[in-house]
């Protein structure tokens, strides 16, 4: 079994080598993030450190007595995990190193994120090197669905969270609610704790508090160019594995610093920098290829529509009566109804969300990335292209993966795109 395998020499050697590689990959990305740019906010230091030490230790400020529960998607209600006294860790991986490890299990054309995640789980290379007691895997896209079956050594820890394939029908809502109830039972049996109205209320409120800060953060960065998108992405990425309380605390500090910047009129980019909206397959640290590229070449990422950032934190739970009978359905609704994940059909809400963001944040151009092998995003790209064309928004569609090979080619395309945006803007000014 898993434990036996972990004893083998080969396993140990792979883990050791991969750790070193992974660490190097992190170092490289962090260097690009911190060193290539001036004006990094001081409060970002906490988030930089968090990421630098991503796989260096396994404490990450967490109490070892608590159970750790890995989630593989934003559709897992983290409030439930918090309420049963466990620590949620979002374990979608963005490392090229672990992608290569995962390639051993999966077909060549699979999505890099799925590969990377499976690799990281199989070789104990999750964030903070945690060893989760349970891995909750929502059955969203086809590749994720099958994830738990492939490596039988870890499959016993997998818990498939069933998902409806549409969110509009009442049946799907009902089905999803049942799924959530089943999940609660699973969580209770894994942690040995009961879900109570009190603990759930507290969890909901704590997450809501974090969301409130995040929304404020979002408001700041969209109304004044005081922080770059690559930093914003690190903030949301830290939510994957950081302790909720300290994450909120440091985000609040960052907000305060940014507000000061706003007051003094300080800006991190000049006003000619095109305002970019990122969307598509999610960028997960250390895969910061696209965001970094855009901003290194003079773009300014105002907002992202990613399930690794805004989509994870934006939507709220609204409870009418603070008893479990209302809290649980409210929670279930929050993770289903407003989701703009392309695994739902129809998914017109995503287009509407993009269009309203474009208008509200005064976006000049949209960059839409798709991972090679990610079929759903690839298919939806066409729908988005049409909608953007109708709205008259210039859009760059790129297909990429976790390997650094295509940097050169991407640089050229992004450069050209930004150039044309600037050009357009000038035309508009005249």
């Amino acid at each position: 079994m898993m434990k036996d395998n972990q004893q083998t020499d080969r396993f140990q050697r792979v883990v050791k080598a991969a750790s070193i590689h992974y660490d190097m990959e992190i170092g490289k990305t962090m260097a690009a993030i911190t060193d290539d740019f001036p004006d990094n906010p001081a409060a970002m230091k906490y988030f930089y450190e968090k990421h630098r030490n991503l796989i260096r230790n396994d404490s990450n400020g967490k109490l070892p007595s608590k159970k750790t529960i890995a989630t593989l998607c934003i559709h897992v209600p983290v409030e439930l995990i918090l309420a049963v006294g466990a620590i949620p860790v979002r374990s979608c991986a963005g490392a090229f190193t672990t992608e290569q490890l995962g390639a051993e299990f999966l077909p060549a054309k699979s999505c890099p994120m799925v590969k990377s995640t499976l690799g990281a789980i199989s070789y104990n290379l999750l964030h903070g090197k945690v060893q989760p007691d349970l891995i909750i895997n929502p059955a969203t896209c086809d590749q994720k669905k099958k994830l738990g079956e492939i490596n039988e050594e870890i499959s016993e820890k997998f818990y498939l969270l069933e998902m409806p394939s549409t969110k509009d029908s009442e049946e799907s809502r009902e089905y999803w609610l049942q799924t959530v109830f089943k999940l609660i039972r699973k969580l209770e049996s894994v942690t040995g704790n009961k879900l109570t109205a009190k603990s759930l209320k507290r969890a909901i409120q704590e997450v809501a508090h974090a969301q409130r800060l995040y929304r404020k953060f979002n408001h700041i960065r969209t109304s004044a160019p005081v922080i770059l998108g690559k930093d914003a992405l690190l903030v949301t990425n830290a939510f994957f594995f950081d302790d909720l309380e300290s994450w909120s605390f440091h985000l609040n500090l960052l907000n305060e610093e940014l507000e000061n910047r706003m007051k003094t009129g300080f800006r991190v980019v000049n006003e000619r920098a095109p305002r970019i909206l990122l969307t598509g397959s999610p960028s997960v640290f250390p895969n910061m290829k696209m965001p970094l590229l855009v901003e290194e070449l003079g773009g300014f990422i105002v907002s992202e529509e990613f399930c690794s950032s805004s989509r994870m934190l934006w939507d709220t739970v609204a409870v009418d009566e603070w008893h479990l009978y209302d809290m649980i359905p409210a929670l279930a609704d929050r993770y289903l109804k407003p989701s703009t994940c392309p695994n739902f059909s129809p998914n017109t809400d995503r287009i509407r969300k993009l269009l309203s963001a474009i208008e509200e944040y005064k976006i000049d151009g949209v960059v839409c990335q798709t991972f090679t092998g990610c079929q759903l995003y690839d298919m939806e790209t066409r729908i988005i292209a049409k909608a953007m064309e109708q709205a008259g928004i210039q859009t760059l569609f790129v297909e990429t993966d976790y390997s650094p090979e295509d940097i050169g080619q991407l640089t050229t395309r992004v450069e050209a795109f930004l150039h044309s945006l600037k050009h357009n803007r000038k035309k508009q000014l005249i």
Partner: protein, 340 residues
């Protein structure tokens, strides 16, 4: 202008539900006991100001309408018809000021149901909801009642399709089954409306129905929020004129994420409030303009309450969190994020 914006900013963070509770308490006392204080608001009140209750300061328009329509065709086109028409205009005049907020803020039966809900919440018994298929079916009932309530009085004075005129025992048919008639006089310690009338078959059936519905009112309101409102012909009548109301509830669909928060907190369980992203005027048939949805909407300026076209209360992110996060629930080191 800045001053106004400031006020608006404050208003958006306000807890309307709490305010509503106090307004409801006040209006409840007014509608149930106002008559004892020589308050008189006429006989076209667009809410259940039941005249069977001694303390009522006015008369519910439904009874006035049923009486007013007890006309033969020739009377209908004579001065009596004109009197009915002016009464009707008065009703509309009253109605458009608050629009359906008559239901959410003033109706004494609505208030009573809200109090029953509060009680249930205290005890911790869960509430029920209709599934959407039943919702669509059941919501038509109130229109059927409204049509009957108009047709029966006319049928008492005239013969429809050569049928004999309806028996006079059907006088004010809705009042005979209205829970307001049985419940509101109780507030004046008057139990005389609780009876079964054995006079003849018609009265026997109608009075038993009345008691039955009263009983269901209590049981229903305990199991489901605003149970009765769903079948209320006053709500149906009001909705016909809701579009010309001065108080408005509007929605900006492009800001909506269809998160369903509004639908979730809606006491009547209106689905359209979340799903409809195209209508600007979002007041649906059953809406009672309680504005709980505006409170629960976490998107800026998605749902707005307006007087004519001026926004007086809007959904905001800030307001949402302010209302929903109870700081004493948090163990946070930093509390000053409340202020912006």
């Amino acid at each position: 202008m800045n001053y106004l914006q400031n006020i608006k900013h404050k208003a958006d963070r306000a807890n309307v539900s709490r305010l509503r509770f106090w307004i409801q308490l006040f209006t409840f006392l007014l509608i149930v006991y106002g008559g004892y204080f020589f308050i008189h608001i006429g006989s076209q009140v667009p809410t259940f100001a039941c005249p069977y209750n001694q303390g009522s300061p006015g008369t519910c328009y439904l009874i006035a309408m049923q009486h007013g329509l007890h006309l033969t065709w020739s009377e209908l086109v004579s001065y009596r018809g004109l009197a009915f028409f002016t009464g009707f205009l008065t009703f509309i005049g009253f109605f458009i000021v608050f629009n359906k907020a008559w239901c959410g803020f003033i109706c004494p039966l609505g208030t009573l149901q809200d109090w029953i809900t509060k009680l249930r919440y205290k005890i911790g018994i869960r509430f029920s909801r209709y599934d959407s298929a039943s919702f669509q079916k059941l919501k038509k009932i109130k229109y059927v009642i409204l049509v009957l309530l108009i047709a029966i009085p006319l049928g008492m004075s005239n013969s429809f399709f050569g049928l004999a005129p309806i028996n006079h025992d059907m006088q004010s048919p809705f009042c005979q089954v209205c829970p307001g008639r049985t419940i509101l006089p109780l507030a004046s310690a008057d139990t005389s409306q609780i009876f079964i009338d054995f006079t003849n078959k018609t009265t026997l059936v109608m009075s038993t129905l009345g008691i039955l519905i009263t009983a269901l009112f209590f049981v229903g309101a305990f199991a489901k929020k605003r149970f009765f409102c769903f079948f209320c012909p006053m709500s149906a009548l009001q909705f016909l004129f809701s579009r010309i109301g001065i108080l408005r509830l509007t929605k900006n669909g492009s800001n909506c994420t269809r998160c369903g928060n509004c639908n979730r907190v809606c006491d009547v369980g209106i689905i359209g409030i979340a799903e409809d992203i195209t209508s600007k005027y979002i007041v649906k048939d059953d809406c009672m303009m309680c504005f709980k949805c505006v409170e629960a909407c976490p998107e800026d300026n998605c749902l707005d309450v307006r007087v004519f076209n001026a926004k007086i209360f809007s959904s905001t992110q800030e307001g949402f969190f302010k209302r929903y996060i109870q700081p004493n629930e948090l163990s946070l080191k930093n509390e000053k994020n409340d202020e912006r």
